[in-house]
């Protein structure tokens, strides 16, 4: 398989998942889409290195997340123009995710949506396994408290 074909196959196989993960991380469909696209462009620029990484998909996800969380430019937005995002049932989840600190949000999405191992998340984020587990626990507790469903019952709605 040629280099381009290799990249194209990778893109086709993973881009929807990364988009999904970025949406969970940002709660903003447009931002998720733009950051995902840009991350794949960057992956192509460094494809020789990215393609042999343990998880090229994790590389793209973390790159997209770094782009999405860039706070260098303060964007003043009106409330009604903030996002093109969730309505209905998912709105509660998106809102709950956005209450989490960024690092907690990343680990909960990487672990429970992307299925990444805790050790891999630690490596991706430059933290230890213990720190990832700590963030996971805090994120779980916060979500259990906020989300109005059976998860709160399971934990008694308490923070950990």
């Amino acid at each position: 398989m040629g280099r381009s074909a290799d990249f194209d196959a990778f893109y086709d196989a993973t881009s929807r998942r990364v988009l999904h993960q970025l949406y969970a991380l940002t709660g903003d469909l447009d931002r998720a889409r733009r950051c995902t696209q840009e991350a794949y462009a960057r992956a192509w620029r460094q494809w020789s290195a990215v393609s042999v990484a343990t998880s090229p998909e994790a590389w793209v996800r973390t790159t997209a997340w770094r782009l999405a969380s860039g706070r260098r430019i303060t964007v003043r937005r009106t409330a009604r123009h903030t996002t093109r995002a969730a309505d209905g049932g998912s709105a509660d989840l998106v809102a709950a995710l956005r209450t989490l600190p960024e690092r907690q949000r990343y680990v909960i999405v990487a672990r429970l949506l992307a299925g990444s191992a805790v050790a891999d998340i630690a490596a991706e984020t430059g933290t230890s396994v213990a720190t990832v587990e700590n963030r996971l626990a805090k994120a779980r507790a916060t979500l259990a408290r906020i989300l109005p469903d059976d998860t709160a019952v399971l934990t008694g709605g308490h923070r950990v």
């Binding site: 988009l19 889409r33 995902t36 430019i73 999405v109 630690a122 059976d150």
Partner: protein, 478 residues
């Protein structure tokens, strides 16, 4: 926490996929094109021009931002972040100041500097017809289809009409975007006119509930300077507002204003100077001269956070070679939402609070033109006394010598010491993930500071990090 809790959360996260219905990505070929375009710009800038790299911004209003197509044709320009670029046609000769000669006479279609003497004895100028951007220019610049439209009476918010002596052009796209340029000749008053225009636009953009000023940048190295201004305003819909980018540039006695706007939802990257460069080049060429075209931009709004006592300064970062990092964040305390509760880095695992820290604060230093790019993290842990701080520092440094994560290799690259402070610098590499970090910790008085930086290439050496840590240590105490 139970597995069923995780299962429930996992199911709910998976269900977010339903919100993605109708959202399509532009495809792998578009990603490769975008990457290639970025690389081409970098090569052009580095080899041919040798000018300062200026990041491309995002005009988040173009249709591809919210009308997804499987494989858009041509360069993709809706990136939320940026890559460096330079003007495609750098000046090959030293900049020449266009200085229209009021005594020279000519006709509007003469292609030169046209002037006449008014009744009041002052000079009036005329704009050469080929000083304006053309339809082809705009199509090439935006990768969008446009058709000519009536100039003046713009529906873009805050965009002024054409002055009596000025000339203008306008184009509109099928996606509801509008592009227009006005060139205004003011003999002897162009500098004031530029400032007035900036004031007029920013005042309008801050004039009411439906108007929002987004960014203001000063622009140098293009013509005789200018501004990039971004705002949004009416017409609005429940999902969109009208976003406008103004590229204002003065060239001698002429002021060119390019307005590019349309419906959008966000604008989260630096305004880009390309249209200012293009309009200045066109104006200068029409007058038979050449303009500077090495854009450098400095953000005026939102106003950057200035240096903070006790923390690294922007000059410190430049001193060690991190010249692109020109913006420091607000200082965040561990009690702030999202504030650090530990050093947040695998090489510095020791918990400052467990060792008696009273507070932990964090500041980041970034490149305003490259969101998601280089970043220096600095944290300061404050202890009740110097002895406790030293004990924590020594324990932190001892722990830092022992990597805790499989695959990590830590190398001590040296120590620093000076009047009242000492510290150590390390490099942590993980060959499996291809990551490398330079970091250090130092103590001075009752404060321990740590600094860490994830290498993108080889842009920072251990020696430079040592110097940076030394500066950080010297800054402790203000």
């Amino acid at each position: 926490m139970s597995d069923s809790h995780d299962d429930s959360l996992s199911r709910r996260l998976s269900s977010l996929e339903t919100d993605l219905a109708g959202i399509s990505l532009s495809g792998p070929a578009a990603a490769r094109r975008r990457a290639a375009q970025r690389t081409r710009h970098q090569v052009t800038g580095g080899v041919l021009a040798g000018v300062a790299a200026v990041a491309l911004g995002v005009f988040a209003i173009s249709p591809p931002d919210f009308v997804a197509s499987p494989e858009p044709v041509g360069p993709v320009t809706d990136s939320p972040t940026t890559g460096p670029t330079t003007p495609s046609e750098p000046p090959s000769t030293p900049p020449v100041e266009p200085t229209p000669d009021p005594s020279e006479t000519g006709s509007p279609d003469g292609g030169g500097q046209n002037g006449s003497t008014g009744n009041d004895g002052t000079s009036s100028l005329m704009v050469p017809p080929d000083a304006l951007l053309t339809l082809d220019d705009v199509i090439t610049e935006t990768s969008e289809g446009w058709a000519e439209a009536g100039a003046g009476d713009s529906w873009l918010p805050c965009v002024p009409g054409i002055p009596s002596d000025g000339v203008g052009i306008a184009f509109e796209s099928a996606y509801g975007s509008r592009f227009e340029q006005v060139v205004d000749p003011i003999a002897g008053g162009a500098e004031d006119r530029l400032e007035d225009l900036r004031a007029e636009l920013t005042e309008c953009a801050e004039s009411g509930d439906d108007f929002h000023l987004v960014q203001v940048w000063s622009l140098s190295g293009v013509g005789d300077g200018g501004y990039l201004i971004v705002w949004n305003g009416p017409p609005t819909t429940p999902d969109t507002a009208t976003y406008v980018t103004a590229s204002l540039v003065r060239t001698g006695d002429f002021v060119s204003a390019v307005f590019h706007g349309g419906p959008g939802q966000d604008y989260n990257a630096p305004a880009q100077p390309r249209q200012a460069v293009l309009s200045a080049e066109r104006l200068c060429r029409a007058m038979g001269s050449e303009c500077p075209a090495s854009p450098e931009q400095e953000r005026l709004y939102p106003e950057p956070v200035s240096d903070v006592d006790g923390w690294l300064t922007i000059d410190d970062l430049a001193e060690v070679g991190l010249t692109a990092l020109t913006e420091g964040s607000e200082v965040m305390d561990s009690g702030d939402a999202g504030g650090a509760t530990d050093y947040g880095f695998v090489g510095l695992e020791r918990d400052p609070f467990a060792d008696g820290a009273e507070s932990l604060e964090q500041r980041t230093y970034t490149d305003p033109l490259e969101p998601g790019g280089q970043v220096v993290n600095q944290l300061r842990a404050t202890f009740p006394d110097a002895e406790t701080a030293r004990a924590h520092h020594d324990a932190l440094a001892a722990a830092a010598e022992q990597p805790t994560q499989p695959g990590d290799v830590v190398e001590n690259t040296g120590s620093i010491s000076g009047a009242g402070y000492h510290g150590t610098v390390w490099v942590l590499s993980n060959t499996e993930f291809g990551t490398s970090w330079l970091y250090g910790a130092a103590v001075s008085g009752n404060v321990v500071t740590v600094v860490y930086y994830g290498l993108i290439d080889d842009e920072l050496s251990p020696d430079q990090m040592s110097h940076l840590l030394e500066l950080a240590a010297q800054r402790i105490g203000g």
